[in-house]
């Protein structure tokens, strides 16, 4: 008695062609590879670039504000900060107003590392945006934001 439940191949094709989660993960992997490669000479991954850029503020950031901006779990941020702190690019200090909280900021060498990478980000991003017909970059960003 083989009571195997088969998934119809049409369902496989449906998922392959329509699943927004799959399509976004796929694009995320491809873009991560592209930006990681471009940023490698600066010792940064795409995620580290985004994280450090989000710390480039007039006032130190809280962890919560960064996780909200990056749509990232708090434990992921804790882990992601470690290699950056180890390299002396990010400062993490307790907030004197609330000793549970942390204040995150770039060190001068962190600012320098980030600044060095910005021109390459601009080039890489411009090349990417060129792949989309005029104005479709904004459209894509709006569509992606609706999925959050």
């Amino acid at each position: 008695m083989s009571n195997t439940v088969q998934v119809p191949f049409e369902t496989t094709l449906l998922v392959r062609d329509t699943c927004l989660c799959l399509h976004v993960q796929r694009a995320a992997r491809a873009l991560a590879r592209r930006f990681d490669e471009a940023l490698r000479p600066f010792g940064l991954t795409n995620g580290q670039f985004s994280l450090m850029m989000s710390l480039n503020r007039p006032m130190p950031a809280s962890m919560g504000s960064v996780t909200a901006l990056l749509a990232m779990d708090q434990t992921t941020l804790t882990a992601a900060l470690k290699p950056l702190e180890r390299r002396g690019w990010v400062n993490i200090v307790p907030n004197p107003k609330d000793r549970r909280a942390r204040l995150l900021s770039l060190t001068p060498s962190g600012q320098a590392a980030l600044a060095a990478a910005v021109p390459t980000w601009k080039l890489t991003h411009a090349a990417l945006e060129e792949r989309l017909p005029d104005g479709n970059g904004d459209r894509l960003r709006r569509d992606l934001a609706m999925l959050l």
Copy 2:
């Protein structure tokens, strides 16, 4: 002599508002969380669901065809297969026609696990697609494909 190179805050705002890599990674995290939560009762993550679905073919798949479909590094696939093989959901055998290669297929219990999750995928995906105005799902998929 403080020769610190500052990144202008306007650049930070530019990256935050325009970087397609950041926007896609952010959406990828949010969608992964949503689908992971929905699929948790079936013991599957979003990535495992996509991977197993891509193995649901009439003939066994090669690793190369799966990495191309998922836009995933080969080493990632090797790693991702391990927990699925351990659970007895996926079979990995050498290809007799080319002993370097592997033939990947779902086991009966893997097919059953996948089949059990399909209705929840449908519900979760339908709810997601509703967030986008009519037809914009197709538009978004097309735009994402242009980034690959």
